[in-house]
Structures are given as structure tokens and as C-alpha cells.
């Protein structure tokens, strides 16, 4: 029973990171219907930017992290404005390929600038100190990640539901042309969407980096976040969040009781299963577009 509780706690802890990456992917998908495969590396470069400020320039934590978050927003703006928007006669496949290209470029940049050796991000909380609830352990960093993820989810939910900008984003997603006719500057909405998504990804990156930092560190969270987004429904923020926590728990239970070797493959088995049984995801409404 103790092991079971530990697996659930570990699943929730790791699920918070997946949730942040899942949210970041869903935000862009909701407005453009493009899965952004550069999401992980956007978070990566922002995290390394924070590392550089801390390690080389000796900035205090709050300034370095704030600068990294601002950098991530500007990066999102820049990528949308200077690359995505310039795509001629864009279709979904073409845009996906562009995001993969951006991913490779950003990964190359980080590897070139910071080298391949693993690094350790200075962080005010130790990733290896833990709270014990009975005999169940949760690290301080995991607890912080959980709290931050929940706060971001609530803020995003309120923002998208009640703010003017959030409603404009929704309108852009539902009908790009109609939104433009109604006076919404859809290009600007797209740019802001990329900025917000990049910000959320950066938060995830900053919370992953204290464990070990290296150029490939975002691959796994991105893939798991994507799996969660698909599982929850690519257009549903709450869906992606719930699915991310489910995925974390399923992975841990599978690793504990079935096979640790195939623990990581569970996420992809789930993607295949969901796409076969309920292509719109577990929590998204299935829309049929009228022609």
C-alpha cells in the first residue's frame, strides 16, 4: 500500500511538468491547429538564458528568472512574427515542418553556446531534499512544480474565459476569417499566443533545469506533454492537464507493477489508443466543420 501511495505521489509530481508542457502545446494548437514541436527547445533556450545570467553574470535568482521569462515571451513573438507568419500559403503540414526546423536550430544553438556537458542550474530549492508524508516522499522541487503548475492553470483558465484577449484568442481559433471581419487583429493574437505558450514552456524548463541541465533535457517532457495534450484533446486546456496527471500516474504504476523497461513507452501506446478510439481526445468536444 505504501508503494502504491508513493507511485501515485510520484505520478502526480512528474505529471505537473507534463501538464505545463501540454498546456503550452494546447495554447498554440487552439489558435493555429499546429502542434508546435519547437516548444521543448523554446523552453530549453530560455532556461539556458537564465543559467547564463546566474552563472556568468552572477544575477540574483529573481532577476535571472524574470529576465528568462521575458526572454521567452519575446522569443515566442519573434518566432511567430519572423518565421511562421512569413510562410507562403501555409498548410498544417508545412507549419509542422517549420516548427521541427526551429526545434533543430534552437537545439543546435544551445549545444554550440553551452556545450554538451551536463550542468547544474543554481536554484533556491534543492531538487533532492524532500517532504515526507508518512513514508511517502515528495521532493521540494516537485512540490513547487505542482503549486506553480496549478497557479498557471487557474490564471490561464480565468484569462481565456473572462479577458477580452482570451475571448479574442478563442474567436481566432474558431473562425479566423470571421474574427478578422469582427475587427480582431488575428496576426497579433497569434503572436501573443506564441508568447504566452513560450512563457508557460519556460516555466516548465526552469523547474526541470535544477535536476540536471543539458541540451536534450526537454525531449522527454515535450513528448509526454504532447502525449497528454493528445490524450486530453488538443484543444482542451483542462483536458491536457487532467491527462498529464493521469499519464504521470499510469507511467509510475506501470513501471512499478508491470514493466519498468516499457514505462516510457506507455505514453505512446496511449496516444495510439486514444487516436484509434476517440480521435478528438478524452475531454475535447468533437467539432465537425460545415463546408
Amino acid at each position: 500500500m505504501l508503494d502504491f501511495m508513493q507511485m501515485i505521489a510520484s505520478g502526480i509530481a512528474v505529471g505537473s511538468t507534463y501538464a505545463l508542457m501540454g498546456i503550452a502545446m494546447v495554447i498554440i494548437y487552439k489558435t493555429s491547429e499546429v502542434p508546435n514541436f519547437a516548444q521543448g527547445e523554446m523552453a530549453l533556450i530560455s532556461s539556458f538564458f537564465a543559467f547564463m545570467l546566474l552563472d556568468q553574470y552572477g544575477l540574483p535568482y529573481h532577476l535571472a528568472f524574470a529576465a528568462a521569462l521575458i526572454f521567452s515571451i519575446l522569443l515566442g513573438f519573434f518566432l511567430e512574427f519572423s518565421i511562421l507568419r512569413r510562410a507562403k500559403e501555409p498548410n498544417v503540414l508545412g507549419l509542422i515542418v517549420i516548427t521541427i526546423g526551429i526545434e533543430m536550430i534552437l537545439l543546435g544553438l544551445v549545444s554550440w553556446k553551452f556545450g554538451a556537458d551536463p550542468k547544474s542550474m543554481p536554484f533556491p530549492i534543492s531538487p533532492w531534499e524532500s517532504f515526507a508524508i508518512g513514508n511517502v516522499f515528495v521532493s521540494q522541487l516537485e512540490m513547487l512544480t505542482l503549486v506553480v503548475a496549478l497557479i498557471i492553470m487557474v490564471i490561464l483558465f480565468v484569462f481565456l474565459r473572462y479577458s477580452k484577449l482570451g475571448v479574442a484568442m478563442k474567436a481566432t481559433q474558431q473562425n479566423h476569417i470571421a474574427a478578422r471581419i469582427m475587427g480582431i487583429r488575428t496576426n497579433r493574437i497569434m503572436m501573443i499566443t506564441w508568447g504566452i505558450s513560450s512563457f508557460v514552456g519556460c516555466v516548465a524548463g526552469l523547474l526541470i533545469a535544477p535536476t540536471t541541465m543539458q541540451p536534450f533535457m526537454m525531449w522527454d517532457p515535450l513528448l509526454k506533454g504532447f502525449a497528454a495534450a493528445v490524450m486530453g484533446g488538443m484543444t482542451s486546456l483542462p483536458g491536457a492537464v487532467v491527462a498529464a496527471y493521469l499519464l504521470g500516474i499510469i507511467e509510475n504504476l506501470f513501471g512499478g507493477y508491470v514493466s519498468i523497461e516499457f514505462k516510457s513507452a506507455v505514453a505512446f501506446a496511449i496516444i495510439v489508443l486514444v487516436l484509434c478510439i476517440k480521435p478528438s481526445g478524452l475531454f475535447a468536444r468533437h467539432y465537425i466543420k460545415k463546408v
Binding site: 510520484s10 554538451a116 516510457s264
Partner: protein, 400 residues
């Protein structure tokens, strides 16, 4: 007429000589160049081991700066395979068939090495010092393949002996990378424990892309192990040690030489690697061995990139090619692949910055003696600040 005849004769002689020169010349060898190839992960999860290939490159630069070997400069071709065997195969083929490589050096990783082993063997190209201690290189041996790295098998044996015989641990578990490298350690530990009347209390595989180590540590904790062998890469070792700390699980961790770069390990574990015991096949970074000092001063300080670190992976790139360079020197100006193999086979009791190394006439029935390379290791413990405390001197372990 006489003049025309002379020119025709001269042309025929030139053609015949030219042809014979082309026929006789070795691939990857000219009058002024020796082409040596190597792969190594500069990106991806195994990238910390990428320093091996960079160390070799700087060593060759140093040799070239001194005039090369018998008037020939070493042209070094290194590519990033990201520890991906498919990329290793593609890169080796491209370089071999495109540029032409005289000999292959090092090459990080058991799986990447295994992917190209048959290809290199079929073309009878010398390959010296795979940067991995897998027993695959000598069972069965290849005539052209000379191992340098001591076997993981003897590392595991030495660690288990220390733990069980001298430190009195009763329950030994292992977390191993689920590939040939990890399975080598697993097999050796299992056999050595059987010899001590024990068995592994947990065998936990780690996949290359796994990041969350809680399930793995839970399995280790469930086993109530008091000693855990870590046959994984540096990042996974760091995560396992850290996660164990977070889960209040504190066995004696021991690891392979691949995690013996203590300054790096201490840095990425934020000091948690202190106390971990590893095997080592090379002198420590602060060794006062004259040859180590020389390499540090003349190779590292003059040729290494600005942000390169004088760590064990870096100078292992020098260590793995020391026998190759020695044999190239001994082979003389009339170098051929056959002569290189002949000179390698003559190396007996050779010592550079690692343990003693010997080869012998090719013997398919005794790969360890004829192609096994280094047979000595020593054990070290990570201390405060990433300093190493030698627990043993260089020691020989019987194989198998």
C-alpha cells in the same frame, strides 16, 4: 622519331609507376597524410562522453605540431553520432567510402561500436581502442580490432569484491543501462556474486531516455539493497543518486569508470556524489605522473577549446590512442595496415597514462591475451570537492 619514342616510353613508365603506386597505396594514407576516423556523441544523452573524441583530436593536433609521424600529418575525421548506432553506421560508411580512412580510433559506446564492427572487420581496417570496456571486442576477437579500455567485467568483479569481501555488504543490487554496456556490467556482477554465494537482489533497467528515476529507485529500495551498482551514464547516475537522497534511500553506491569524472559528477549532483566508489582506468586529473603533466601542459593547455575541461573523459581520448600512435611510430615510413597490426601485436607491458597494456599474435581462441589491451584498474572514492581517494593501487583481475 627518337624523341617521340622517348616520350612514349616516359609516359608508359609514368603510367605503370602511377598505377602500381595506386594499387599498392593504402586507403587513407598518402605521402603526407594519415587519415584517422572516430565517432563520438557531441549531442544527446551520452554527450558527456563526447570529450573523448575531442581529447583525441587535440592530441593529434599536438603530434602534428611536432611534425607528425615520420613526415605524415594525422588528418582526423570526427563525427557526432549522438550515441545512435544508425548514425554511427551512416557516418562510418560515408567517411570510409567517401574520404577513405586508414584506421579507426576509439568510438564511444558499445551499441554504436557493435553497429559498425562487422563493416570495419570485413574491410580489414585497423580499429584501436573502442572507448568502451565491452567483452564483445574480444569474444570472439577480430584480427584488426585492438581493445584498450579494461573490461567492464573486471571493473564489476573488483567492485563486488570490495563491497562484499572488504566492506561486508550483504545485499547487492544493480541499476543498468538497458543496452550492451549495461548488460555487460549486469552479467559480470551476477557471476561474481554467484562466486560469493550470493545473487543480485534487484536488477533495474534504465532506458536511455528515462528522466524520472523514482520508479527505479523504488525498486531498489524495495530490495533493501545495502550496495547498489550504477552501470549507467553520468546523467542517469546523478539522477539515481539524487532521487535516492530524496527518497531517503542511502546504500553504498558504486559505479563504473564511465562515472569516474568526479568534478563533473559532484557538480551535477550538487555534491551528492561524495562517497560513491568507482573503478578507474586512468590516472586522476591531478596526478603527478610526468606524462599526465606533459599532456595537460602541452596538449590541453595549448590545443583544447576554451571551455573544454581537463577531465577523465577528455584525457581518456588521449589514452585510448596512445598504443595506436606508438605503433604508427614503430611502423616507420613504409606504413601499411599490416605493418601497423604487426607493431601493435608487439606491444608488451606498454604504459601510458592508464594501466599496463599488452597484445599478442592474433589468437581466435584467446581474445583477452591477443587483443584485450589493458588489464589493470584501480578503485577510487569521490571525496569533498570532487577529489579522488585511491582505495587500491593498480590491480589485475582474472578474466573470465
Amino acid at each position: 622519331m627518337k624523341k617521340t619514342g622517348f616520350w612514349v616510353l616516359a609516359a608508359i613508365v609514368a603510367m605503370v609507376y602511377g598505377l602500381s603506386f595506386n594499387v599498392m597505396a593504402e586507403e587513407g594514407l598518402t605521402g603526407t597524410e594519415i587519415h584517422i576516423g572516430q565517432w563520438g556523441p557531441q549531442t544527446g544523452p551520452a554527450a558527456p562522453w563526447g570529450a573523448v573524441a575531442r581529447g583525441t583530436g587535440d592530441y593529434f593536433k599536438w603530434i602534428n605540431a611536432q611534425g607528425g609521424i615520420h613526415g605524415r600529418k594525422i588528418v582526423y575525421h570526427m563525427f557526432d553520432d549522438a550515441y545512435n548506432p544508425a548514425k554511427t553506421m551512416a557516418g562510418v560508411k560515408e567517411l570510409q567510402e567517401g574520404t577513405g580512412i586508414f584506421a579507426w580510433a576509439c568510438g564511444v559506446g558499445t551499441s554504436p561500436g557493435l553497429a559498425v564492427r562487422d563493416y570495419i572487420r570485413e574491410r580489414k581496417i585497423p580499429w584501436v581502442g573502442p572507448a568502451t570496456g565491452s567483452s564483445h571486442w574480444i569474444t570472439p576477437p577480430d584480427r584488426n580490432l585492438f581493445a584498450v579500455y579494461p573490461l567492464y567485467y573486471i571493473e564489476a568483479k573488483a567492485l563486488v569484491r570490495l563491497g562484499v569481501e572488504e566492506m561486508g555488504f550483504k545485499r547487492v543490487a544493480i541499476a543498468y543501462l538497458n543496452d550492451d554496456y549495461g548488460k555487460n556490467g549486469l552479467e559480470a556482477a551476477r557471476k561474481e556474486l554467484i562466486a560469493h554465494g550470493k545473487k543480485l537482489v534487484a536488477k533495474v533497467p534504465v532506458e536511455l531516455k528515462d528522466q524520472d528515476m523514482k520508479p527505479h529507485v523504488m525498486k531498489l529500495r524495495q530490495s533493501k539493497a545495502d550496495m547498489v551498482l550504477l552501470w549507467v551514464g553520468p546523467v542517469h547516475a546523478a539522477r539515481l543518486v539524487g532521487t535516492a537522497k530524496a527518497m531517503k534511500f542511502a546504500p553504498q553506491f558504486m559505479s563504473t569508470s564511465t562515472c569516474s569524472d568526479f568534478p563533473l559528477m559532484m557538480h551535477i549532483t550538487k555534491g551528492l556524489f561524495q562517497g560513491v566508489i568507482t573503478a578507474s582506468f586512468a590516472e586522476m586529473p591531478d596526478s603527478d605522473l610526468p606524462l599526465m603533466q606533459k599532456y595537460k601542459k602541452e596538449v590541453y593547455e595549448k590545443f583544447a577549446a576554451k571551455d573544454e575541461r581537463w577531465g577523465v573523459f577528455y584525457y581518456a581520448g588521449i589514452l585510448f590512442v596512445e598504443p595506436l600512435v606508438e605503433a604508427l611510430k614503430k611502423a616507420g615510413r613504409d606504413l601499411t595496415r599490416e605493418k601497423l597490426i604487426f607493431e601493435l601485436e608487439k606491444l608488451k607491458g606498454f604504459r601510458g597514462i592508464g594501466g599496463e597494456l599488452s597484445y599478442d599474435i592474433y589468437n581466435p581462441k584467446n581474445g583477452y591475451k591477443s587483443r584485450g589491451g589493458m588489464r589493470e584498474i584501480f578503485l577510487v572514492q569521490c571525496m569533498e570537492g570532487g577529489k579522488a581517494k585511491k582505495l587500491t593501487d593498480w590491480m589485475r583481475i582474472q578474466y573470465p
